[in-house]
């Protein structure tokens, strides 16, 4: 549905390329996460695909139509939710949604159930000036999906949302994908990306540094080992075959400082007598793998902390 080949772009006043030859594709029914630090090229890529930025080289197509030739038919198949929701302040939530939806051809989703699901039922008839940031973000999603677009561009869709509403947003995104939409999602929220995306790409300085399924990336950038967490005791440090485990890519972030840890390689784990013995000792708190997290991968690839 979305195909990008050797895409390059330099802003008119820019001295260097903002996008430096990227390739990716998003299939119908797929949620594709586009992750990276600010200024890496996420928004530029999205603007090109939305048909707002021209003058690029390479190819960027949506439904086989080149983005540089985007016309009203091209845009009719797209749903977009910008990071900063923009609405008519003097119209109500429902009026805004209905106004924008009225310009798209074809059948529309009934907005009322979506308002209810996203906790906006009571605010449907409020003017936008009375909406909080979180409410606008949820309304932003309703506007983006109301016309059943074939391609959905979402920029930070869970920004400013509480965990419950963020979950509903993720559910709706997954439902749209299940309905056949290709979803292009840019975010800093690695937990949301992990929970929602089928594949993610990390873009750094205009180039894609890694692109795969979240689970595959976590395995690739993680360590093939398990860590046994136990209450501290004199025998833990002397665990035969094990070693004191250190934090790896944030995987141990949840462990208490007082927790004793011992690490065992994943290969041959079932026959590792030391590991079995470790499990039999008192004070066992848990066993976890040393897969990396998307946060850790982000940090490793970009060299920048998430904020």
């Amino acid at each position: 549905m979305i195909r990008v080949r050797d895409l390059r772009f330099t802003y008119p006043k820019g001295t260097s390329e903002a996008i430096r030859g990227i390739d990716f594709a998003v299939a119908p029914g797929e949620v594709f996460g586009f992750l990276g630090p600010s200024g890496a090229g996420k928004s530029t890529t999205q603007k090109i695909l939305l048909g707002s930025l021209r003058g690029y080289s390479g190819s960027a197509t949506v439904g086989s139509v080149e983005a540089s030739g985007a016309d009203s038919r091209y845009r009719a198949g797209i749903g977009a939710a910008f990071e900063f929701p923009c609405f008519y302040q003097k119209l109500t939530g429902l009026e805004n949604v209905r106004l924008f939806a009225s310009f798209y051809p074809g059948p529309k989703v009934d907005p009322r159930p979506l308002f209810e699901r996203l906790g906006l039922a009571d605010a449907m008839d409020w003017r936008l000036a009375e909406y909080s940031k979180g409410m606008r973000m949820r309304l932003n999603l309703i506007r983006a999906v109301i016309h059943r677009p074939r391609v959905l561009f979402l920029d930070e869709p869970t920004s400013g949302l509480d965990p419950a509403n963020a979950r509903v947003v993720r559910d709706i995104v997954r439902e749209r994908a299940a309905d056949g939409a290709a979803v292009f999602l840019t975010t800093h929220d690695m937990a949301a990306a992990d929970a929602t995306c089928d594949r993610v790409a990390f873009i750094v300085d205009g180039r894609i540094a890694a692109c795969d399924e979240p689970a595959a990336l976590k395995r690739r950038y993680g360590k093939r080992a398990v860590v046994v967490d136990r209450e501290p005791g004199p025998e833990v440090g002397a665990a035969a075959g094990g070693s004191a485990a250190g934090a790896s890519d944030g995987a141990s972030d949840g462990a208490s400082e007082k927790t004793a840890q011992a690490e065992y390689p994943l290969d041959g784990l079932a026959d590792d007598a030391a590991f079995i013995a470790e499990l039999r000792k008192p004070g066992l708190l848990g066993v976890r793998t040393l897969d990396s997290s998307l946060d850790g991968i982000f940090l490793r690839l970009t060299g920048k902390e998430l904020v």
Partner: protein, 267 residues
């Protein structure tokens, strides 16, 4: 053969359907703008200001003119035609201000950027808004003359001035949206632009001072209504048709320049 025969008819019906869709989309945008104006107390009042001014002058000008004539011998009502021109141009200014403030709001709120990724497109959204306020300015311009009731040479002259005046609505709208960074700057810009309301008075000035007003359509509106020549010593006579043509040409040049500035600002 049969397919060839039906092709032009099919193309015709397709273009008719496209036209109908455009009209329907434009109507929805216009309806939305009317709703936005209706919910803003300041914008609600603006369409009536030219009429209030015209009626106030209709009532106040004759006794005021009599008083001035008695006191100084100056015949103010000799200039009723010119005052009528200024009043007929007023709706263009006011409807342009309304449209400009809506554009500024949309630009600040990011709504214009959203339209650019919708089937309407930025151009469609802008065209619908400018067309609405331009049409409203034309209708109001035609109605303001009779509301004033003084001066006036012919309906054709009033209508021509109203046409030039209506084109000032997109001029003011685009000027505000292209130049001002926010509403506060927009108000300051408007104060500076309000001097243009007096451009028709330049017909009273001798050359070369009068030439300062040539780049402004408001001046040509006065020329076409008053129908006089450019003045002694120029060797060039400008009748109403030429003045109308110059007024439209100058308006078109300004609109092209301001539209390009606006697009650079929002793209």
């Amino acid at each position: 053969m049969r397919a060839n025969d039906t092709r032009p008819a099919a193309a015709g019906s397709r273009s008719m359907a496209t036209g109908a869709r455009l009209v329907a989309a434009g109507s929805r945008l216009v309806a939305a703008d009317l709703r936005l104006v209706g919910r803003d107390p300041l914008l609600c009042i603006m369409p009536f200001v030219p009429f209030l001014a015209a009626i106030a002058l209709r009532l106040a000008l004759p006794p005021l003119a009599a008083f001035i004539a008695k006191a100084t011998g100056f015949m103010l009502l000799d200039y009723a035609d010119l005052i009528r021109v200024v009043l007929i141009l007023f709706p263009g200014t006011f409807f342009g201000m309304m449209s400009g403030f809506l554009l500024l709001d949309d630009r600040d709120d990011g709504v214009s950027a959203y339209w650019s990724v919708s089937p309407v497109g930025r151009s469609g959204y802008l065209a619908a808004r400018l067309a609405l306020f331009c049409t409203a300015a034309l209708v109001a311009g035609l109605a303001v003359g009779p509301a004033f009731g003084l001066g006036g040479r012919s309906f054709a002259a009033d209508a021509s001035v109203a046409v030039v005046g209506a084109l000032q609505a997109p001029f003011f709208a685009l000027f505000l949206a292209a130049i001002a960074s926010d509403k506060v700057e927009g108000l300051a810009t408007l104060k500076a632009l309000s001097a243009l309301d007096l451009a028709p008075l330049a017909v009273l000035l001798p050359l070369p001072a009068r030439a300062l007003a040539w780049p402004f359509p408001q001046y040509w509106a006065a020329r076409l209504a008053l129908g006089a020549s450019l003045g002694p010593g120029t060797g060039v006579a400008v009748g109403p048709p030429e003045a109308l043509g110059l007024g439209l040409a100058v308006s078109a040049a300004w609109l092209s320049f301001l539209y390009a500035r606006y697009r650079r600002r929002v793209d």
